[in-house]
């Protein structure tokens, strides 16, 4: 094989790998978008009284709340659980934390590059609206924006007050996943 063929093979291979990688990345975003459409359907079923309505037959999660941030045009369905498989499709409600809108602190985690990208633009005072089955629609006001080290931080669950914590990775533009820092948005019920 002469050098030229070798080079062409290398270019083709590199192009293939590159396209495959970009495709992989793009697929994550497409999946994140697509899933939210399917989830809105499952959410309608949930509001209709069905409990743990699965958005697709093989899903191991289900919608638990709807989260809206009018100032940033955000309308997301929150899923049960925070495993990687769940977060690929939507922000996840931390198991064991309070039901959003009920007394205590509800913790919702999302990916900083998909669903929770908007947290970067959230400001204190922004309004967050949360609906959960069996709970009246509750409104929250953003109180605090902090960055914590997930290796040492503990999020205290509030006692009687109704709180919402939105979590994502930090910094927003880092390329490598798996860093220790987290961006924490704390909101308190604004009590109408």
């Amino acid at each position: 094989m002469d050098r030229r063929t070798l080079r062409i093979a290398a270019v083709t291979l590199l192009a293939g790998v590159g396209l495959w990688q970009v495709g992989q990345g793009a697929w994550i975003y497409v999946k994140a978008r697509l899933a939210q459409h399917l989830l809105h359907r499952a959410w309608a079923l949930t509001l209709g009284g069905e409990s743990e309505a699965k958005p697709w037959p093989w899903a191991d999660t289900w919608p638990v709340a709807r989260l809206q941030v009018p100032a940033h045009g955000v309308d997301l369905i929150v899923l049960a659980g925070v495993s990687g498989r769940v977060l690929a499709f939507g922000p996840g409600h931390a198991p064991g934390s309070a039901v959003p809108g009920a007394p205590g602190t509800a913790i919702v985690t999302g990916h900083r590059d998909t669903h929770f990208r908007f947290l970067e633009r959230v400001k204190p005072g922004d309004e967050i609206v949360v609906e959960a089955p069996g709970q009246p629609r509750s409104r929250f006001r953003v109180r605090e924006l902090t960055v914590v080290d997930s290796r040492t931080a503990v999020i205290r669950s509030g006692e009687d007050t109704v709180n919402l914590v939105l979590l994502t990775c930090y910094p927003f533009d880092a390329v490598r996943p798996g860093g220790p820092l987290r961006y924490v948005v704390t909101a308190h019920a604004s009590g109408e």
Binding site: R7, A88, P95, G96, I107, T109, A174, R176, P177, P180
Partner: protein, 705 residues
């Protein structure tokens, strides 16, 4: 206007705020309060701001409605006057330390001699006979710059050591002596040495208080949560707390086996049948339990052992008798109803949940068609495979295997609802109901759970399987004892098969129940535990006793199912056992605390426990050990910093599943950036290639025909 305390006279020796504020409430309710002040007056008189000298606002605000008298209590005539006032008073209140009152010769006995009806009230820090009694001494030494240490019991398997006044850069050695009875089961002795307190899940609503320095706030369900949750080092930062071990083992008999299932060890035989055991590595991180297992050689396995330790005119003894082996027993013929309860909380994530699932699968295939079963799983929510127990048909067992296969470990550990679901009082006539609980026991509300087991057990039997590298042993043991079952541990995948087969043999053989021990000639013996618990296959009767007359034989009676059983052993005094008195005392304290759980008055139990603990120098829920070095090491003006030492996360645990804040990003950006880089490389190469080709063509052109 007369109040409810009209006619009650209070002699008020208090100063500053707490005492005066308390007696002022009595005054507001109508009591006649006479406040005794030293010649220089209550110190709060001098606290600014005030309009007139000696009339500070705090003083005025905490002393209204009182009458006053000045007495210098250090002078004998003033003391006489005070006692004369006490004679006509109903209540005496003070807020200095009781020792100081004793120095003034105004202790309870002295005041009582003047007025037998007096109510003598002290308001002071800590208490004289409570769990914090030693704290007063410790705290004083700490304030005075003296080196001091304090050992307190949080749980029977969690202790806190506090050390005060460590100079900068100093090395501190803490020596703790403890003793532990070795467990004998199925022909093997097992010694377990826990090295780490795994992070516990804390249920309940947070309270405003923090009684300790842990990561969890106290809650209504776990009032001491902040004392049992030491800070945890993130495993990403490496492991801390290195441990090295040296063990000298004197088994007393030749051994057929000696091993440590979770650590690699070196064994060196010493003289007289003894062994020295060390870790193969110089030191290991304190992140799992250490266990040493030894098996007596065939034929020398003990059938009975009697250790004795005379103390004064009393004798403390330990008696172990092994009931006849499995050949003499028939297999259990009654069909069973087995309820498996699987903990799939975040602390089980990683190796633990896999071990638990493997154990559960083995148990499922072991069921016989005549048995019925159900599987309950819980984290912060509880659900079950079936609504009620179903026959163990092949289809049902398959459904259970699928159900178990789909379980992931995440979330909280609300154990109580799962326990109540399993102990729901739905026992069926003619079936033996066994609840098999697979968990690491990483919860802080043990007391709540034990109460539930005691109240709801009915005719069920509870068996615990401690999962993982550092299970809560106290929970396993105590839950099985209250549940009249047995317990075992699974700490590695290699152990699943062997430990489960041993458990199946226990579950499928009749238990020895209604065990009675008779010690002819030692009628006054106080035998513990009482009653003697049921015994499962391979387990010996182990009792500890205190007596004045040494017994020479023991008769054991009991029943295997409906078959009566009797066994007599003559008691040859074995080797002298050191520490048997302390062992008996521990059993006695456990028995006393048990009475409290079944509703005996708290105060009486507390006093009884303190008496036993003080006699035998034991740390208990109500007694602590304190040591003070009298030489001050910290100059008065040097600051004092306090901090809690971290622990490791137990081996095999998943930090994010316990404390996890979740992963906040996908691999998307990485993929895209990598992909784009590779594409750019391809383009560069491609451009280079074309230029190369163009160059080659050009050359050919020039040299062409």
């Amino acid at each position: 206007m007369p109040g409810p305390l009209d006619g009650v006279r209070v002699l008020d020796l208090t100063t500053v705020v707490m005492g005066p504020f308390a007696t002022q409430i009595l005054a507001d309710f109508g009591a006649d309060v006479v406040k005794v002040e030293p010649p220089e007056g209550d110190i709060m008189r001098q606290v600014w701001p005030f309009r007139s000298q000696g009339m500070g606002h705090i003083y005025l605000n905490a002393n209204r409605n009182k009458r006053g008298i000045v007495l210098d209590l250090k002078r004998p005539e003033a003391r006489e006057a005070c006692l004369a006032l006490a004679k006509r008073a109903d209540v005496l209140v003070y807020n200095i330390r009781p020792q100081a009152m004793a120095r003034l010769k105004l202790g309870y006995e002295e005041v009582k001699a003047a007025n037998p009806r007096i109510i003598y009230v002290g308001a002071f820090g800590y208490s004289q006979r409570g769990p914090y009694a030693a704290k007063a001494a410790y705290d004083q030494a700490k304030q005075e710059g003296k080196r001091a240490s304090l050992v307190e019991q949080e749980r029977p398997n969690i202790f806190t050591t506090s050390i005060a006044n460590i100079p900068p850069g100093a090395t501190i050695a803490v020596e703790i002596e403890y003793q532990q009875a070795v467990r004998y089961d199925a022909g093997r002795f097992r010694l377990r040495f826990p090295m780490v307190v795994g992070p516990r899940y804390i249920p309940g609503a947070p309270a405003a208080t923090m009684s300790g320095s842990g990561w969890a706030p106290d809650t209504d369900a776990v009032p001491d949560a902040s004392r049992i949750t030491p800070p945890v080092e993130h495993p990403g930062r490496g492991s801390i707390n290195p441990v090295s071990l040296r063990i000298e083992l004197d088994p007393g008999v030749p051994l057929a086996g000696l091993e440590s299932p979770y650590h690699k060890i070196h064994i060196t035989p010493l003289s007289a049948g003894r062994y020295e055991i060390t870790l193969e590595q110089m030191s290991v991180p304190a992140d799992r339990d250490f266990e040493l297992v030894w098996q007596p050689a065939a034929g020398v396995a003990p059938e009975a052992a009697f250790l004795i330790s005379p103390q004064g005119d009393e004798v403390f003894a330990l008696l172990m008798v092994l009931p006849p082996g499995p050949t003499a027993l028939e297999r259990l013929r009654v069909p069973r109803e087995v309820v498996f309860v699987l903990d799939n909380s975040g602390s089980m994530s990683g190796a633990s949940i896999e071990q638990a699932k493997a154990a559960l699968r083995l148990a499922l295939v072991r069921l016989r068609p005549a048995d019925t079963f159900n599987v309950v799983r819980f984290n912060h929510r509880t659900d079950s495979l079936f609504l009620g127990a179903q026959p163990a048909s092949p289809q049902n067992v398959q459904a259970a295997e699928r159900y178990v296969g789909g379980i992931r470990a995440e979330g909280g550990t609300e154990m109580l609802p799962a326990l109540l679901r399993a102990l729901d009082g739905q026992e069926q006539q003619g079936r033996l109901r066994q609840v098999i609980f697979l968990t690491d026991g990483a919860v802080g509300n043990e007391a709540q759970l034990f109460r539930a087991i005691r109240e709801r057990l009915g005719s069920s039997r509870l068996f615990t399987i401690g999962i993982g590298s550092a299970p809560n042993s106290h929970f396993m043991r105590e839950a099985a004892r209250l549940g009249r079952g047995s317990f075992t541990y699974i700490g590695s995948p290699a152990e699943v098969q062997q430990k489960m087969v041993a458990l199946f043999r226990k579950l499928e053989s009749p238990a020895l129940t209604d065990v009675q021990l008779e010690l002819p000639g030692a009628g006054d013996a106080e035998v513990l535990p009482s009653p003697i618990p049921d015994l499962y296959l391979g387990e010996p009767v182990v009792v500890t006793l205190r007596t004045r007359l040494e017994p020479s034989r023991a008769v054991l009676r009991g029943r295997f199912g409906s078959t009566p059983w009797e066994h007599e052993v003559s008691l040859h005094r074995g080797a002298d056992g050191a520490g048997l008195a302390a062992h008996w005392a521990r059993a006695k304290i456990a028995a006393l605390l048990d009475q409290r759980r079944s509703g005996a008055p708290d105060e009486a139990i507390r006093h009884a426990v303190i008496d036993v603990a003080l006699t035998h120098h034991l740390v208990s829920p109500y007694t602590s050990l304190v040591a003070v070095d009298v030489t001050p090491v910290r100059p008065g003006d040097a600051g004092l910093h306090t901090h809690a030492l971290k622990t490791n996360l137990p081996a095999g645990w998943d930090y994010d599943a316990v404390f996890g804040l979740g992963q906040g990003v996908t691999a998307g950006p990485l993929h895209v950036v990598l992909g784009v880089c590779v594409l750019l490389l391809a383009v560069a190469l491609h451009v280079g290639l074309r230029r190369d080709v163009a160059f080659a063509l050009g050359r050919r052109g020039r040299h062409g025909p």
